[in-house]
Symmetry: C3
Subunit: 273 residues, 3 copies
């Protein structure tokens, strides 16, 4: 199944509009190119709404949000909704500040998202209205383990059903659910968290996958999560004793560039419940 | 000829002011350092105009433009004109949105550019007032091929003569013309388009080359285009079966850092008509 | 001594708030992760003040400053002072424009910094009110050499004592002083200046080291400077005939990721007077 989904990305080369932070934006652009998509960034109101229209997907990432770009996120999100485009929300740091929490929750109220992709603390913040996010990382108390997996999945499932959106809560074990079916994904490496923006890159990737597979948002999101994790594994295997997080960053993007749909199908490590 | 032009860059180490997008800005900075230049970025009005004055060249790139930075592009451009500095325009995404098209054309009306460097769709947008740019890439219908080469070159030549500026329309075959003489350049690799910002890097590079060679803007632009394409070739030859677009990015900048003026002279693949 | 200081960084994993330029921000984030810290970026007023509070350190870097972010630097700096957090100032380009000089000096008047980290021209600009900074690099006339070392150190020492802040003036020889004791540091490689943002990365690193060692700001700053220089040496030794400044950037961050406290202790090349 993931083979076909990834083939659609490579074949359609979806143009994805990103309103995103300036920290990891270059890596998001190269990751989009690596998967076969095409990136464009625009965050000025009149520019963004028009750019949204020429794209097939929109990725809204609230890291380094500001009062100029926040209204643009709302406007572009609504425009993408009107056009029936895939829209992804990455609520970076929701729970770490009021502005981030309020913006993410405000967006949730006015824009219909195809997929929300965040760490578990960010997802809890969105679902419950408050959370304990440690900066841009999940709080230790929230972390998904084999022990709390079922409870966390039930929580995400309930949230996804309530808002009618695919929820991808990523961490040591990733949970991707539409409220009916849930993917438990075990691809990835813990070392990925030592590279800035792997979450941001995954959200951009999810937008590309969802754009190229408009009828299967759940599977598209799950495939993107598996693909990112698999590239984390492939890149890790390539590392030498001299390599650290900067080379690891490069190797992950390289791995996505080289990844074939068949390899994704074979390497994806998930179960559906 | 290109040997001397590149030697001037290495020897003078031109300080280039960049008003550019936040997606590819780091790569532009490292590419400028790699060629022997020195980068500085400033996009706040009072800061930028003063920074322009201490530099020897200005590179205006309209990607991720916004209402705060647009007036800065005009002001810095005019200041650079007063000082007789080299000024390069990269009309990223002109044709993809009204704001980008209008800004690029507005700049063209008020600032005298030394070189305009864009893909063929962006150049057509500037010349004709409207265009069909696919995001930040040239539209397929516009792409320069051996078949439409002469017609495209005639178009660029006419535009260059009309505005009195060197026009560099880059793609599979690059056309660099001042309206009198035209360089047809065949350096480069198609894989370069899988790296975000190779066009932006080339524009920054062009600003450095034009700054260090004030009397020869046509040759400086052609040399920069050849140098970038040649580095794309050198970097491509270095790639292993594990490398993808992220390593390719690094290798291109590395190649520029290592490139000698004599190697540029030897590797430049062009004809002049 | 540096072994313990670096161990504290790795053990405490300080969350560092960065208000910094968009040119080198990604490298700062990866360098913070490489040393064992955790980065967060926020530059919108209400967001930043709250983010400052959840962090243990603040790094203010004035590169690409603008009228929206300047007041945020003041507000976050004051908030960090109230909370007793480590605060680092990187006066990028002070001396190159009035806005940068005035902002850096204004910050110095209203925020109590733990460490100021800049090149010698920037430090002179702060101390004397005017300076001759060549873009973002030190002016040739200011450069620290064995010949002017004692005079420069006396100048930095006097400035540090006067403002009650650790001053780190980095260049070919680095001077780190609190006005009483002075570290003369000879780690590093001249090739580091061909990589954009090594100074910015060092300032971010210094914020992490000072945050994790609140009682020893002088030693923390000196350790950070040695660590960065040592990584520049390790990375240089790794370079092949094909590598240039882009790979060098990656290798330096990789080296920090791999560096152990014991290796820092052993490789630090300094004398204290």
């Amino acid at each position: 199944m993931f083979e076909q989904i990834f083939e659609n990305v490579r074949r359609k080369s979806p143009l994805v509009h990103n309103i995103t932070n300036y920290v990891t934006v270059n890596d998001c652009a190269n990751m989009l190119l690596a998967c076969g998509g095409s990136p464009i960034m625009a965050d000025e109101l009149e520019d963004a709404v028009e750019i949204t229209a020429v794209c097939s997907g929109l990725n809204i990432n609230i890291g380094t949000l500001n009062r100029r770009t926040i209204p643009v996120m709302f406007a572009a999100g609504k425009r993408a909704n009107e056009l029936g485009h895939a829209v992804v929300l990455d609520p970076v740091g929701a729970g770490a500040s009021t502005l981030r929490t309020d913006t993410a929750r405000g967006l949730l109220g006015e824009v219909k998202f195809t997929v929300i992709r965040g760490n578990i603390s960010e997802i809890k913040t969105l679902a419950l209205g408050s959370g304990a996010t440690k900066g841009v990382d999940a709080d230790a108390a929230d972390k998904v383990t084999e022990k709390n997996l079922d409870g966390t999945a039930a929580f995400a499932k309930d949230f996804a059903r309530r808002i009618g959106t695919v929820v991808a809560a990523t961490g040591a074990i990733d949970i991707v659910t539409d409220g009916v079916r849930t993917f438990y994904i075990r691809n990835g490496r813990p070392e990925m968290s030592a590279v800035t923006g792997t979450g941001c890159q995954l959200s951009a990737l999810t937008a590309a996958f969802a754009s190229a597979n408009p009828d299967r948002p759940l599977e598209a999101a799950a495939a993107a999560v598996c693909a990112m994790g698999l590239c984390g594994e492939i890149a890790y295997n390539r590392m030498t004793d001299l390599d650290g997080n900067s080379s690891y960053r490069n190797y992950m993007i390289d791995a996505m560039y080289r990844l074939t749909p068949a390899e994704l199908e074979k390497g994806a490590d998930y179960e559906v419940r």
